[in-house]
Amino acid sequence: MLIRIISLIFIILSFAAPAFAQSGTDPKPLIDALAKADFAEAETLIGQIAATGDPKVVPALDAFSEGDLYFRKSDSAVFIGKTGDAGLELIDPLTGASAGPTSKSAVTKIRVNNNLRRVIDAAKGGLTLMSPDRGVRLAAADAVLASPSPENLALVEAALAKETDSEVKARMQEARAVSVLSSDRSVDEKRDAIKTIKSLGGRNALGILNSVSSSIDPSLKSDLDSAIGSIEAEQQLWDMVQNVWYGLSLGSVLLLAAIGLAITFGVMGIINMAHGEMVMLGAYSTFMVQEVIRTHAPGLFDWSLAIALPVAFLVTGAVGFVIERCVIRFLYGRPLETLLATWGVSLILQQTIRSIFGPTNQEVGNPSWMSGSFPVGGMTITWNRMWILVFSLTIFFTLLVVMKKSAYGLNMRAVTQNRRMASSMGIRTPWVDALTFALGSGIAGIAGVALSQIDNVSPNLGQSYIIDSFMVVVFGGVGNLWGTLVGALSLGVLNKFLEPSVGAVLGKILVLVLIILFIQKRPRGLFALKGRAVEA
């Protein structure tokens, strides 16, 4: 939509701007010919359409790339189709004038594939380099950069001569360098181009240099190899940083999944097999919140996660409360029965969700601020992973404050350390038990909100996290929140350093083996609790 608006603005402005390389051919018959063209013919036609140099064809190319180009069955005339309330609205591909609504059966969509999209991007890049809109020019330079072709070289150079914006100019320099490499320019010019691309750095530059390495002039071979070598060396360094980041990110997911368990299992000592289902319920709460928002207040969608947090906390907290009151409180001090009972509860919860929502995945959308990525040096960081890391640390420290600084936290610690003494001091221990279990479950629910952003929301969601959660809590040291934090992050980093060299499958096995060995050596985990509480 945005692209189309921009292109429309662009058309209007382009009447004023001097058109470049206008060969004077009317693009209309070429566009109409798309109706009957197969993929190979369409590719040729796109080249011819671009060669007209007429910027008016850009909206048609855009629509083609997006799959919005149709031809009318009655007369094979090609139109841009816009889905509206009354079926499809047809728009003239060149003038942008409306040709009235039509039914979907009266037109046929003109098929497009990846290859054509690439060709269109390159063609469009060349056509929009002179656009008055800075953003369009930048995108055009990127498009030329991504698909170097000798045809675009002249266009880039002409655009460069007129460009005033420094950022766009730099990008165009890079685009020019890429095109020079694939053209038949002089060796000196190519040597400069290699330098420019080398300073660009990153995987794309590496790909571009590698792709010409077989066809390059022998005298440039050493320049090229040294450029490739230096980019690769730099990339290797970044790969190390990237591994640490990936490890922290995986660790933050483990922390999220385990943090609720650190309370129910770690602090209370309940072997809670239904922990994963609490995470799952949190994810389904997010789904429900998003469904309501989609139907009633679509504008709030970017806030859906913030709204889902308290909802998920309350829902899962309440479920946890009920489970504690109805099942677990009868089983304190009998770990085997607790395990069996919570396992049963987890099966019941799973099947209940399956009966209500069906067994298939539910779509939980990512708000715009959680989609995409941003580059940091030679690596890319995805927004969703970054926010999840921030989020899990926030939860962790909030929980820590609640446990250490609030009256409720004091009661909770008193009860877990010495139940009878706490009871004698007037603390209602059953009530504290129930609230603690509800808190642990609620935290698991909040984790579900975050995990719904990166994983499937299906009734099986919880199962995939339960083993990992226990692993983290046991490794970090039962009863110690800091242990859970350190345990989760170190397991994450360890995993991500093993993965590139031994593969994901073996990496996971090795981590498990290492944990088993570690537990043999230190049965109480990284941070063992000391004192009487251990024996109780």
Partner: protein, 433 residues
């Protein structure tokens, strides 16, 4: 963990015993003048996500057949059991369906593990199984009909498409670590190398079931793709791990224009849980897409939506395979005039029934079927746009590209009646069975 799972198993066992006794009871009350059909799909556990749909399709098909007057003048009756995604339980349930409920044929299974688990049961008790999911090949049983795609009906045409249309020179074979991806990748590697692709241009990579942290894998693909040659990913990633995989691809900005991914286990159903806008252009290879433009398909989709009372329900390839299998069985029973296994096994070979892509599928002597291969690109609405459709392809059970099986053929017609005939030695037997 053994401890937990054995307790879990016992608990499940008790539950299942209860279910079993109820089905047995309902069986006892059923009238004699019905033909029973077994439906063996997991309705609980990890595979319920995929298999529940197939159970619904079978119920719909049986329902429709009954509306048309049933079969041989009798009504069809579905006997649905739940093997709960537990492979040994599949064998147990299959035995129960055949011996206790006396079903005429069974439609079921999804994973290869479950099929391998029931295979000896069907051979021992001489009954018929229709298996509706794409699989790795390298198997042929007298009692099983494979209506899903064999590797040559899915994987190989997909790779051909990428090489020809997109000019792909470098391949990442990314899969979940179990039998289907491993065998398929073995076949694909042998095939690509036979086409002159260097070994250094093929990267094979496996991840565990339900894998969700794809950051390292995706950046590995990115790095592999920066060697200056057009790169594509061939994905045999199993169901649940796909959503996080595609999310990571989208977030890391790998577009189909740069590195296309062609998947063999991702259909309309899997995409239903995903925002597909960042995925437009990634591909899937199947024998059927919901977007197929054929009157018979439009009719099927309409019936399916009406049957499930859900206008948003999608159709997918295994549903078409179930549809073909069921109709072929009905036609074979009508031709044989009986539901007896041996008679049906004889009459079904050569039976042709309409498939949903507008053509006909024929049951071949190797118990596989003919069907066209469709390559589709993912669209923003979660559907596929078909970019290529081949002519009919005969399912090849023994791959021609693996040294162990290239001499084997299967022909269950008399007098050969052999699932692994070695054309080099001229003898029945050898690897496989």
């Amino acid at each position: 963990m053994t401890f937990t799972s054995s307790i879990g198993a016992k608990f499940c066992g008790a539950l299942l015993a209860a279910v079993m006794s109820t089905t047995a009871l309902s069986g006892a009350f059923a009238a004699d003048d019905t033909i029973k059909v077994g439906v063996l799909h997991s309705l609980s556990g990890t595979m319920a996500i995929s298999e529940t749909t197939l159970k619904d399709v079978m119920l719909m098909l049986i329902d429709e057949q009954n509306k048309k007057g049933g079969l041989l003048g009798k009504k069809l009756e579905a006997v649905v059991v739940d093997p709960a995604s537990d492979w040994p339980l599949f064998a147990e349930k299959a035995r129960q369906l055949i011996s206790q409920d006396k079903v005429a044929a069974v439609f079921g299974c999804w994973t290869s593990s479950s099929r391998k688990s029931v295979l000896p049961v069907f051979e021992e008790l001489n009954s018929i199984l229709f298996y509706p999911v794409q699989y790795e090949g390298e198997e042929s049983s007298r009692n099983i009909f494979y209506t899903g795609a064999a590797p040559n009906q899915q994987a190989i045409p997909a790779v051909d498409y990428l090489a020809e249309t997109e000019g792909v020179k470098r391949w990442v074979l990314e899969g979940t670590d179990y039998v289907y991806p491993q065998t398929t990748n073995k076949i694909l590697k042998a095939y690509l190398m036979s086409k002159g692709v260097a070994e250094s241009d093929i990267m094979i990579n496996y991840t565990p079931f339900g894998f969700s942290d794809w950051q390292t894998e995706v950046s590995k693909i990115k790095a592999f793709g920066s060697a200056g040659k057009k790169t594509a990913v061939v994905s045999t990633i199993n169901g649940d791990a796909n959503v996080p995989f595609y999310k990571e691809l989208g977030n890391q900005g790998i577009k189909a224009k740069d590195i296309p991914v062609v998947a063999f286990s991702v259909g309309e159903e899997e995409l239903a849980g995903l925002d597909t806008k960042p995925l437009v252009g990634h591909l899937a290879a199947w024998n059927y897409f919901q977007s197929v433009d054929a009157p018979i398909n439009a009719e099927f989709i309409k019936e399916w939506k009406a049957f499930t009372k859900n206008p948003k329900r999608v159709t997918n390839d295994p549903m078409e395979a179930a549809y073909i299998g069921f109709n072929a069985w009905v036609k074979a029973v009508e031709a044989a005039g009986t539901t007896k296994t041996d008679a049906v096994l004889d009459s079904i070979i050569g039976v042709s029934v309409p498939n949903l892509s507008g053509g006909y599928s024929t049951v071949m002597p190797n118990h596989h079927i003919t069907k066209p291969v469709l390559i589709g690109e993912i669209q923003a609405d979660g559907q596929f746009d078909i970019v290529q459709q081949t002519a009919q392809v005969v399912g090849d059970e023994w791959s021609d590209y693996l040294p162990d099986s290239k001499n084997l053929i299967s022909d269950w017609r008399k007098p050969m009646s052999c699932g692994n005939f070695n054309v080099a030695t001229g003898k029945c037997g050898g690897k496989g069975m």
